[in-house]
């Protein structure tokens, strides 16, 4: 244990928290020593967030106790957590877009904090820790990386002894993540403890002193991550051995099925990104991955290619050689394209509608002959829809209760499998997917990736937009990067490295590659940030 005096900073004993029949935390115990970076590992839905919310006072445990420096405490609110010395950096930032950085910071500080010097203190602190910020900028205008800086500075200003970070690197470029690690190591050297939540095993191995692994709400192991391999950690997390998707044999590369040439899309709202001169060709039989930090124009790009936003220049987008820039989404579907958006609930599916109705959502145009009758009148054929729903659920192994439940009753992974299955069921010649496995459990993620690769193997073109670099590298034949509304020149997988892609994600000039790149699977070579 990394603690100095034997008494851990934080100890959690036998915590139980239930939501109805579901035990989100079942007898969870863990301890974090002073000056320790402790990792909490687990799949989506393993109960990490529930535990963290209890530590931060947003939720109360049903039974069990929390000890702070050896004494039992009851953390009844976030404000009390902060007074105790616990700070939190949220995964889905808890920021206010319309307010300034300083106001955002002020809102999380205790009333006693003098309002007037928040801006100055924040500026000073942000410089000290190498996280420069302008306290007067409006948060809505900031990039994702800058927003995280606001979160971290806000947390540090409370001078916490324990900092909880929830999936902090999921929105960062590898280089930005590197910066973050330096900051964390410096914090550790100051004697602060860090509870680090992640499912990225490499960085856990590299950074963390100890790890506690959660599965289905229970602690299933505790280890020193440096002594484990990524594979052993993964199997602890998931419970079985996870197979990476089978890389298919390099198949036939066919005709171009999607051609984007010089497409532009102006920003539609105050905080949106404009797309500038986007060029990309995807051919039959290949998977092209678009990497990039969230908020660099990926959702705008999805709207552009899907036809949710149409542009005047029909020639700019060709689907199976048909000019489609000015055609709507259903016209593009009729050409053989299929789309899976990032948000499951409220975009790809409607929570309060049943699965069969959600099937109709994307397929009423392309499959009108099957699902509708009497032409213009458009009578819905419920029986056919139910059959198709059953077929999709069977093919994609969607677990559900009842024959045709509301979409909201499915878990994230099962709903994503349904949405993918809904499009694959059509055997599209072009599939465009935004964040295929975001917030999905490992089993479902593997299945979805395999399905996309199988589709490419069968001769279709697949375009995947993802923030998850591991995923991009696992399935793509060529990789391109979206940064600030621009798309880089695609790099064949053989030539792609994490560093190259990471630099592009950070906005570096695609032309040159820095020489002193480290091996992307680091051992324990902490880059010495602690004594900067």
């Amino acid at each position: 244990m990394a603690g100095n005096d034997g008494v851990p900073m934080l100890e959690v004993r036998h915590i139980v928290k239930s939501f109805g029949p579901l035990k989100a935390n079942d007898n969870v115990s863990l301890s974090v020593g002073s000056g320790e970076i402790h990792s909490l590992l687990g799949e989506n839905g393993a109960g990490k967030s529930t535990l963290v919310k209890m530590l931060y006072g947003s939720l109360q445990p049903d039974t069990g106790e929390i000890l702070w420096r050896g004494k039992p405490v009851s953390i009844t609110s976030p404000s009390m957590a902060r007074q105790t010395g616990i700070g939190m950096v949220f995964q889905h930032f808890s920021l206010f877009d319309s307010l300034s950085v300083a106001d955002n910071i002020l809102l999380s500080l205790e009333e006693s904090f003098a309002t007037s010097d928040v801006a100055e203190k924040a500026r000073q602190l942000s410089i000290d820790y190498g996280l420069p910020l302008n306290p007067h900028s409006i948060v809505g205008d900031l990039s994702v990386g800058e927003r995280q800086r606001v979160e971290i500075v806000r947390c540090l200003l409370q001078n916490p002894d324990l900092i909880i970070l929830d999936e902090p690197t999921s929105v960062l470029t590898p280089q930005e993540a590197e910066n973050l690690f330096e900051t964390l190591e410096r914090l550790r050297s100051e004697g602060r403890s860090i509870l680090y939540i992640s499912h990225r095993l490499e960085e856990v191995k590299r950074m963390c002193d100890r790890a506690t692994i959660l599965r289905h709400g229970k602690v299933v192991g505790e280890c020193d991550p440096a002594e484990e391999t990524a594979e052993s950690l993964a199997s602890l997390m998931v419970g079985t051995n996870v197979n990476k998707a089978n890389r298919r044999t390099a198949g036939e590369i066919g005709e171009p099925l999607l051609e984007i040439t010089g497409a532009n899309l102006p920003a539609g709202s105050p905080f949106a990104i404009a797309l500038k001169n986007v060029n990309l060709t995807v051919r039959g039989g290949e998977v092209v991955g678009i990497a990039g930090v969230a908020g660099n124009g990926q959702s705008e790009f999805f709207r552009l290619v899907s036809g949710e936003d149409v542009i005047a220049d029909a020639e700019a987008i060709k689907i199976r050689s048909s000019s489609s820039g000015s055609s709507g989404i259903n016209d593009r579907r009729r050409l053989g394209a299929a789309f899976v958006p990032e948000e499951r609930l409220g975009h790809g599916a409607i929570p309060d509608l049943s699965l069969s109705e959600n099937l109709l959502l994307s397929r009423h145009g392309s499959d009108n002959a099957a699902f509708l009758r009497m032409g213009k009148l458009g009578l819905i054929r419920t029986d056919i829809m139910l059959d198709a729903t059953a077929r999709i659920c069977e093919n994609m192994d969607v677990r559900k209760t009842g024959e045709d439940p509301d979409a909201s009753s499915l878990s994230g992974g099962n709903l994503q499998k349904f949405i993918m299955g809904r499009e694959l069921d059509r055997q599209p010649s072009l599939l465009i997917v935004n964040q295929p496995t975001w917030g999905v459990d490992a089993g479902a993620a593997a299945r979805i990736r395999q399905a996309m690769m199988d589709l490419a193997q069968a001769g279709s073109a697949v375009l995947v937009i993802s923030q998850d670099l591991d995923e991009i590298f696992e399935i793509s034949d060529r990789i391109t990067v979206m940064h600030d509304g621009e798309l880089s020149e695609p790099i064949p997988i053989e030539d792609a490295t994490y560093e190259k892609i990471g630099l592009l994600m950070g906005g570096a000039n695609p032309g040159h590659v820095l020489p002193e790149v480290e091996e992307h699977v680091p051992g324990d070579n902490a880059s010495g940030g602690a004594d900067k």
Partner: protein, 362 residues
């Protein structure tokens, strides 16, 4: 301290979907009884005159149909609006403008009296109502202006327009300076269904047809599906390739047409001429009907009859017990309040938690 906690149901509750209007009605009865008590009346007699007495006689059943007709017709259209998240609250104005458009034929062309007169009046009224509803639709779709406020403002404008017409250019010269148009000739009058028994005219039948047609459209057709999708999630609607702004026009103009049809039915069937006031707030009461019917046009038939009953009951209670007919609107307001509250039960379980037990901050 006591706190209400909502627990989301994984699957919506069909039981409460069916029951919530009944629970709401029950609560309204309880609070209605309290109001009668507060007014110093026997609550049971009060409720009897409100909800049972009007059903005991044939002529008052006819009155019920006369009052329920416009409510059902307007509410059926409003279901389409509210389901698609377009907040038309100006049905009262569309009702009036529909009546004005339809009345043009008997007032401006008194000589034109054929079998075509009545159908043309109905069509004109629907066109008028649809066009008037098209104004807030245009302002929303084109200029992003809040449709709630614009459609409501247009109610006042329509009322003033009607007032001006029947006091001015359209006033009956033989009317002894009373505001009001000429009385409509038989060819321009919506006939009574069973003249030997009572006054109920074919407007009620039109309302039933409208409600069933709108129900069929919403439940069975792709366009009806489009209505729900755009109402539940505009983003998912875009993904489905549906146009939100086209839906603004569609829903507004459909409900405007039905409100206009209700307007001419009332004027031609029940009143017989255009007057300065032609509606006891049907356009607003229909909002209550739509919600009480759970935005299902078939449900609005039952809800419309119930609301019509409160109008009749209000008159009955005023005559028999001396209770102000203003109580009616209190009943109607309460009904909407309770039905909205009960609708929460469809998607949530409601738990009452005492704060000391949990001690959480919110």
């Amino acid at each position: 301290m006591i706190r209400v906690e909502l627990v989301k149901r994984p699957q919506h509750s069909n039981f409460y979907m069916l029951m919530s209007p009944f629970i709401a009605f029950g609560l309204t009865l309880v609070f209605g009884a309290l109001i009668f008590l507060a007014l110093g009346k026997n609550p049971f007699t009060g409720l009897y005159f409100y909800f049972i007495d009007p059903l005991s006689q044939v002529w008052s059943l006819h009155e019920l149909a006369i009052k329920a007709g416009p409510l059902i017709m307007i509410a059926a259209g409003l279901c389409v609006c509210y389901r698609s998240n377009n907040w038309n609250i100006g049905a009262e104005g569309q009702f009036i403008v529909g009546a004005i458009f339809g009345s043009m034929i008997p007032i401006l062309m008194p000589g034109f009296q054929t079998v075509l007169t009545l159908p043309l009046m109905l069509i004109m009224a629907m066109v008028g109502g649809a066009l008037y509803a098209g104004i807030p639709a245009l302002l929303k779709a084109r200029y992003n202006a809040n449709e709630i406020l614009t459609s409501l403002m247009l109610v006042y404008v329509a009322q003033l327009l009607l007032d001006w017409l029947v006091r001015g250019v359209w006033r009956d010269p033989q009317g002894f300076a009373f505001p009001g148009s000429v009385r409509f000739p038989p060819a321009a009058t919506l006939p009574e269904m069973i003249p030997s028994q009572g006054d109920a005219h074919y407007g009620f039948l039109l309302a039933l047809i409208a409600a069933v047609a709108v129900w069929f459209f919403l439940a069975k057709t792709l366009k009806g599906f489009e209505v729900s999708v755009l109402g539940l999630s505009p983003r998912a609607g875009k993904f489905a390739g549906f146009s939100a702004s086209a839906m603004v026009f569609f829903s507004f103009m459909l409900s405007g047409a039905l409100a206009g049809l209700a307007g001419i039915s009332e004027v031609s069937g029940a009143i017989g001429q255009l007057r300065e006031v032609i509606s006891p707030g049907y356009g607003f009461a229909a909002i209550i009907v739509a919600f009480l019917g759970r935005l299902n046009p078939l449900g609005t038939i039952a809800a419309g009859l119930l609301l019509a009953l409160t109008y009749l009951g209000g008159e009955a209670a005023q005559i028999s017990l001396g209770i102000s007919d203003k109580v009616v609107r209190v009943f109607q307001g309460m009904l909407l309040f309770f039905v909205l509250g009960c609708d929460t039960l469809v998607h949530y379980k409601i738990r009452i938690v005492s704060r000391s037990a949990e001690g959480s901050a919110t």
